[in-house]
């Protein structure tokens, strides 16, 4: 195997891994606060991507590529945030206080409903997306770095840093952290729990939509079941880095992206998803609280 090939796989791995990190945030923050795996996150990701796709298509008829893209992305992110909040209010809030398996199953139901409702509306076939950086390619030691990959690094890193700042330096972020420490005590201190939970869902869903738009353009394919694989990979990234931690989600995403691309390169691209699941099983077996976690929690 030539070194160029390995560098090439690593570049694609980092690009896609940072997008996984953005998805992972949605799982991580929700798990931190409500202690359940939001299976519906993949559906939010897919809905956000479709909103962006259709808006972009529509606006692109009368506007240039970039302005129409930015407007469409903005609308998609906003609608994904609203969708995430509504999903929590309708499907998860009524099950609060019951066994968390009930909430998990409810989120599986939401995921089925939204994913296949969309498939019913728009059909299952993948749709190609327009390109943002046609022909931009940089040579890096024999490997190729595309404009889209640089754009992905930039967007994902900016958002992750901004999120870290938001969670640690703002009042809303502080309430979210307080709720994930101890919801009862936070409520006693005057934190509005419902608001904190809604903010969490809004942020997670918005970042999920950004990831969906990036991945949709990167692979140039938008289809209703895209949220399944991506959602599960975001979950794997979150678990690998230690669920509940933002830097962990980023490292987990990077690790997963690189493992997947190297594995796909050395074995066969058909095994890409199998490698991701193997990572999940290995992490769950040996380091269930994440490979970067300092202490091991006794129960999951």
């Amino acid at each position: 195997m030539s070194s160029e090939f390995i560098i090439q796989q690593l570049i694609s791995g980092v690009a896609i891994g940072l997008a996984y990190a953005l998805i992972a945030i949605g799982y991580s923050m929700v798990y931190g606060i409500l202690k359940f795996i939001n299976f519906g996150h993949g559906a939010v990701y897919m809905v956000g991507t479709y909103v962006a796709y259709f808006t972009w298509k529509y606006l692109n008829q009368s506007m240039a590529v970039w302005p129409s893209f930015l407007l469409a992305a903005l609308l998609a992110v906003a609608s994904a945030a609203v969708f995430g909040v509504v999903m929590e209010k309708v499907a998860y809030k009524p099950t609060r206080g019951r066994s968390r398996l009930t909430t998990f199953m409810s989120s599986v139901g939401v995921s089925l409903m939204v994913t296949f409702g969309m498939e019913f509306l728009v059909g299952p076939e993948p749709r190609p997306t327009p390109s943002l950086f046609p022909g931009v390619r940089i040579d890096v030691g024999g490997a190729v770095l595309t404009g889209m990959q640089i754009f992905m690094f930039g967007v994902a890193l900016t958002l992750l840093v901004a999120l870290q700042w938001f969670v640690h330096r703002t009042q809303a972020g502080r309430s979210i952290r307080a709720c994930s420490e101890d919801m009862g005590a936070a409520s006693l201190m005057g934190v509005n729990i419902d608001n904190a939970i809604s903010t969490t869902f809004a942020i997670g869903s918005a970042l999920g939509a950004v990831a969906g738009i990036l991945i949709g353009i990167y692979y140039s394919a938008v289809y209703p079941t895209m949220g399944w694989a991506a959602g599960i990979k975001g979950f794997i990234a979150a678990v690998t880095g230690g669920i509940g931690s933002i830097p962990g989600a980023m490292l987990g995403g990077l690790l997963l992206g690189m493992a997947e691309n190297l594995g796909a390169g050395f074995l066969s691209s058909g095994y890409r998803d199998a490698i991701a699941f193997t990572v999940l099983i290995l992490v769950m077996l040996f380091r269930p609280s994440g490979i970067f976690a300092r202490e091991q929690r006794s129960s999951l």
């Binding site: 206080g97 998990f104 139901g109 296949f116 498939e119 019913f120 769950m284 999951l300």
Partner: protein, 337 residues
Amino acid sequence: MNWFPRRVRLLTLALVVALLLPIFVHSPYALHVMVLLGIWVVLAESLNFVTGFAGQLALGHAAFVTLGGYAGALLMVNNGWPFWPALLVGGGTGFVTGLILGLMALRLRGDYLGMVTLGFGEIVRLLAVNLVDITRGPMGVPGIPRPVIFGFKFHGELPFFYLILALIVFTHMSIERMLFSRFGRACLAIRDDEIAAQAMGVKPYRYKVLAFCISSAYAGLMGVFYCSWATFFSPDAFKLDDSIMLSVMITLGGIGSLVGAIPGAIGIGALPELLRPFTTGARVASLRLAGVGLVMVVFLILRPQGIAGMSIAKDYISLEPLRRLFVRGSDSKPEKT
């Protein structure tokens, strides 16, 4: 002593009706659908054993059907095995692979276990698609022989209908026997309170793994039945959607309700046939899955104990008033947790 309790009477009646059904129903299409529903019933009952009684959420049931199905299909096609030993090998494959996954995964709890079993299911499907030399990949295994019993070769749907009925009876009775044994009671104890069960000397991990392999063995068995019935097996025969659909079936039927899994499986399994007049083609599948998702959310919010109504105790608390509204003469008290 009630030697013929109500639930047995009901089921016996249902069985007699099912046995007589082919006298009135002749269309091969209707029989075909009924065999398919039978497969769903066995799979739902066996999944209910691990999810409902041992309390372990498993979303990889389809993987064991695929594993068992391939084991049986390849033995019958490549090595010329007859159906019956292949059926046993399929069950054995389910058991052994269930043991391997169970030993690894059952230290995890709740939704984490769900995600890991889901991942295992996808790995199995991807292996079946990619190991073209063994499984012929997405092309599938064609020409699987049908069962022969005492020189009588299965032909058409009718013998399969009776065979699946026999398998349902076998599954139901064996699971019921296990439930009333020490093993079953230990599983129930673990589900209700793992720490209390440990204090009474029950080793949770051991029983969970055993429950998991037994449940997977039924799934492997059904894989062989399915491939011989369809005379064809491919990686897409049973996949992630089907695993999730199975957990929907047992959720609607009532998680932990032995009888509830039957109406749950038949109801959800029959949906695509019921929706057929309203939509056409591939859209039927999407509409069915979307509808199932909606029904599932509504059920979990309003009636988490399912149709048949025995449930994980914790779920009663906030629902007692609603429950009284829907279930007349219900006198069960909410339990403190």
